[in-house]
Amino acid sequence: MDMGIDGAFTVKVLTRFIREELGKKGFRRAVLGLSGGLDSSVCAVLAARALGPKNVLGLIMPYGDSFGRDVRDARTIGTRIGIRTETIDIKPMVDRYFERYPTDSRVLKGNKMARERMSILYDRSARESALILGTSNKTELLLGYGTIHGDMACAINPMGDLYKTQVRELARYLKIPAAIRTKPPSAGLWAGQTDESEIGMTYAEIDEVLLHLVDGRESAAEVVARGIPKARVERIEAMIRASEFKRQMPLIAKIAPRTVGYDFLYPYDREK
């Protein structure tokens, strides 16, 4: 299997996806969180192409001034593609909560920040009559490397079937500035955090395994037989299993003859 993508064709599919799926819900505008990282930058460019830059609002939501460079990068990409941007510091809201319920856990703090951003995005979504574009890529979704109801929350996600490696390739095709493309990917949970050091594998290593496991439908043994270290394959499989709940709607206890999600099954896109 091959990881390479045709940039022009992929952009064509994803911009149509954004325009058509928003349009069917009666929307012309989109809002998204701009972190200054690779995924949200690519998503912003796709949205600007699909809807026109004036119809896209990028919200830059740093926690205080701990992410100065990211804020600058986010503004740069916003200016470059001509979308509206707005910067909202989430520090006062987040600090207020942790003053009352203190913790030393960086993960708890990071999750709270992700959900604060989500809460602002949904508020702006309603105020602006704009739908939220998700920026989670396929690697994150499969590993569960995201905050449920935080950065994973959105109306539609144009990037969710592209591995991180493919998002990088798309970013090159879209001429995203090298400063953004070469920056180590970070969930921004705390200053200096990087995904690859936290997970303990590079995205290239992860994506190679995911491509065979998921798209190739190979067993772990078959992937190992390709010469990939067993520990890596097992670790990735375990992460996929442990995060299944993040990829599903909440379970409903079935009592009635017809139940939402089980046998009450209407298309998302019904037009009448």
């Binding site: 064709f9 149509r16 798209d215």
Partner: protein, 290 residues
């Protein structure tokens, strides 16, 4: 019925609205008018063109008895001026509560043939057998332009369907489709599009018939339909191809005389032995040996 001449056909690669029959009917009638102006004698729409594809629990609400349904009747009326192939959800009064993924061929103000999709993909992203009953017959039928056969999407990927139409005398196989694009890594366009073209070439070449494949475009629930509608001639050569992803409208000239040429030059049809196939199949199906 014997027809050796040229024919103009229109491939209506469109994006029906999901569950919006009224709007889809308008879209059909506008397209038929456009085809008529272009001199087309037959206009072909994709699978479930009247209703949209991913209906799920909407299926019953758009089901139509072709003898009575207003939208179907409107298309049959429109076929007085140019013949039409369209897709719809069929429910007959004699089979209440059974819904078929059907294709109708209408010409001269009446329905000449209805094909009910036999092979309902139900795996991975597909769940058709959850909502549709399977058709149980594959037959060719006579038209003013020779004998033709109708297949719906997945039907065509089972090559026995093409053989049955061939054995039954079809000179043109019309495949209406709602095929999603998938697998883009390492390829130009979608990997799945190549699968359809390959089958089209092979069946055109070896069934020595025209293959007309009309796929839809647009998105439903995040799934993109790949378009790329095409016509292959009885030598498997391309006659024309629509764009990927975008709505398109192609008017193509086909020459049914080429069926004769192909079958004369390569006498596969002359030498075919359907009775041997039948007897061999009986042994296979009934499990008895030689």
């Amino acid at each position: 019925m014997c027809y050796f001449g040229p024919m103009k056909i229109a491939l209506a690669q469109m994006a029906p609205g999901l569950g919006d029959v009224a709007r889809n009917l308008d879209l059909h009638l506008e397209t038929i008018a456009r085809a008529r102006k272009a001199g087309a004698e037959l206009t072909i729409f994709p699978e479930l063109s009247l209703t949209g594809y991913r209906l799920r629990d909407l299926t019953e609400s758009v089901a139509a008895d072709p003898a009575r349904d207003k939208a179907v009747r409107a298309l049959v009326r429109a076929s007085r001026e140019t013949a039409v192939v369209f897709g719809f959800v069929e429910e007959k009064p004699a089979e209440k509560g059974l819904f078929y993924n059907s294709a109708a061929f209408a010409a001269g103000g009446r329905i000449l043939h209805i094909h009910r999709k036999v092979f309902l993909p139900t795996f991975g992203m597909f769940e058709e057998a959850r909502f549709f009953a399977p058709g149980r017959n594959i037959r060719a039928f006579d038209t003013p332009w020779g004998r033709m056969g109708l297949l719906i999407c997945r039907d065509f990927l089972h090559f026995n369907t093409s053989y049955l139409l061939y054995a039954d005398g079809a000179e043109t196989t019309i495949v209406i489709s709602a095929a999603p694009g998938r697998g883009s890594a390492g390829t130009k366009g979608f990997a799945s599009s190549r699968m359809w073209e390959l089958m089209g070439e092979a069946m055109g070449r070896f069934a020595q018939a025209y293959v007309v494949y009309v796929n839809r475009v647009g998105f439903e629930d995040g799934i993109v339909f790949a378009g790329g509608s095409f016509v292959k001639d009885p030598m498997g050569e391309p006659v024309g191809q629509a764009s990927a992803l975008d709505p398109d409208f192609l008017v193509l000239d086909i020459d049914l005389g080429r069926v004769r040429t192909a079958r004369k030059n390569w006498p596969f049809k002359r030498d075919d032995k359907p009775e041997v196939t039948l007897e061999a199949l009986k042994k296979i199906v009934h499990g008895y040996g030689d």
